[in-house]
Symmetry: C2
Subunit: 355 residues, 2 copies
């Protein structure tokens, strides 16, 4: 087992990216965003993804030195062409531009094309918090869900992240995919030989299934049936169609499509709170809403109510203070990667890797 | 049975509102929006609501001559104070302002406070379509849903409507509440003595229930558990907290609270497509996305796939061409209302009411 700190993981990730030819500043941004996922407890989107990013970089499927450009520019609107750079580098720049524009006009949106997998949407949405703004960030993704009534996956799980500042309470940070569950949950059930609940997925003929193996050959179901389908579609339009990125069934898969760039599209929106309501009033009202929920009576069998993002804030605090155990498989994969790119010798072990 | 046309219903509704003291122009706006719901097949939100609006007007709970004001104004942002006017009148003005601002800056948002029940959100979102913009409109509502893990209703079903223009295809129009089902579905099950599926609602102790009577004493469940809860909360913040309207458990109920104004809050966003992507390109791409879904293979047992809003476009066309049958109970209620406000004599029947 490897006990690590966020700082160690960041340092390590920066070195890996540098070895892969990413400029230091971009390596730092990407490492910061990956490790933010680990700190939040979203391990699936953290450093566990380093190997696949490395693979795509080595295959030339991601541009190491992208010329990220604003290709359309209005007072409150812009399109950023990511030139196939790392999703994190492209998105960090795009959200920074969005915040700048929102400061001036009260609200702004930026569409992004020619990008890649960007990690957790919450990171970019949360960039708005420091500016006392509300951030909304969405991305499209490779097709895993059929439209409602269909069986052909034409939609990604297209996640949506929204961050809203509060006063003394934690900000509200919602970060959710539009499928009822992630595909990973079905993979876990398959490995354990367990059935899955109806409503998670359909088989390849579009029939409801409780067999994980059949579900994996079929497609995920959206949350709330036609509602989740509608949301996933709208987000695909905002991310893909409005920006000029890939959309529908055409977004490249991070893992699956090792012969072409992903051309992921993102949509970013920033709302300057003070342009709508005096900031202190807003923050006090947020606190009172949050506390009304925290103090409301839990349902039978429930100990405590949580606001969206609260658990991740608690986890981040805990992991930032004490560090955390890296999953042994992930740690081994990182060791293999480190050896491959030449930042670890054959004598290096998982235990000494991040020192 | 009363066979009616949209025009007849509009004329009738205008007369009722005028009799209740609403200025003609405002009466026409409100009638137009109510009847739009009927034409779309959303009968629950159409003229069936005339009696409750009339009741609130007569009780002085809605301001007949509101002084609707922009109380905060930035290039892409504004807050509109509805002065407790009819939700339709207030929202029509607010969305018009939002579209005007978006034309200039590429994107704009308007928050609304001191408003009332506004009918179907889709109407305002669709106002954006004529301007080749994307419209997003949300409202908060009186509490019917508990936060995830709770049992006290602190959130409305807070619906969200999004309208996106297309080329030769119907625009995409999503209009959905954040609860898995509307309360009305549970009331219907109760009347029929049928059980309801798990997942629709919890009883007053927060326990899952299949008994509609217990569910009606409890609260609705959000779609997708914590996801729908998060969405409902975020929409409440945008509609209520950002605008300075009521929020959380405090939004007045259209039917239940006959002793105070509702103070409903709305949030409206308009995105000028051409500020992001050349309009023709966007529309062509929309068509190709829509057709890829229409032409994709349906799941077993499904005949045809529909885009969000497509069924309502078809219904509107059909009802606008041929008229439609008004529900007999609704028709009788309207006759009673017409007699009450003095636009129908005692000899008037449901059959002759709308002539």
């Amino acid at each position: 087992m490897a006990h690590v700190t966020g700082e160690q993981l960041k340092r390590f990730s920066v070195r890996v990216f540098e070895k892969l030819g990413i400029p230091t500043k971009d390596a730092e941004i990407t490492a910061e965003i990956l490790v933010a996922a680990d700190l939040r407890g979203i391990d699936s989107h953290g450093v566990a993804r380093l190997p696949i990013y490395a693979k795509r970089l080595k295959l030339g499927l991601i541009n190491k030195n992208p010329d990220i450009k604003v290709v359309r520019d209005r007072p409150g609107a812009a399109i950023v062409d990511g030139d196939n750079g790392l999703g994190q580098v492209v998105s960090y720049k795009a959200m920074s531009l969005c915040l700048e524009k929102a400061r001036e006009h009260g609200i702004a949106a930026v569409g992004v094309r020619n990008s890649n997998h960007f990690g957790i949407g919450a990171y970019y949405a949360m960039m708005a918090l420091k500016e006392d703004m509300i951030g909304l960030v969405a991305t499209n993704a490779s097709p895993l869900m059929a439209p409602f009534g269909g069986k052909v996956p034409l939609l990604g799980t297209n996640p949506l992240a929204i961050a809203i500042p509060a006063g003394t309470q934690y900000p509200v940070v919602l970060d959710m995919a539009t499928s009822l569950v992630p595909r990973g949950k079905i993979e876990i059930a398959a490995r354990k030989g367990e059935k899955i609940p109806l409503g998670w997925a359909i088989d390849k003929d579009g029939r409801p299934t409780q067999e994980p193996e059949e579900a994996l050959k079929g497609t995920l179901l959206p949350m709330g049936g036609p509602k989740g389908y509608g949301l996933a579609l709208v987000l695909d339009i905002l991310c893909g169609v409005l920006s000029g990125a890939a959309f529908g069934g055409n977004v490249g898969s991070l893992f699956g499509d090792l012969d072409r760039p992903q051309n992921v599209g993102h949509f970013m929106l920033a709302i300057d709170v003070n342009s709508f309501r005096p900031l202190t009033e807003f923050k006090n009202t947020m606190d009172s809403l949050i506390l009304s929920i925290k103090n409301s009576e839990p349902a039978e069998g429930v100990k405590e109510l949580f606001l969206p993002g609260e658990i991740e804030y608690i986890k981040t605090k805990e992991r930032a203070e004490k560090g955390f155990e890296l999953n042994p498989v992930v740690a081994q994969n990182l060791l293999d990667l480190a050896r491959e790119v030449g930042i670890a010798g054959s004598e290096t072990t998982v235990e000494t890797l991040f020192a």
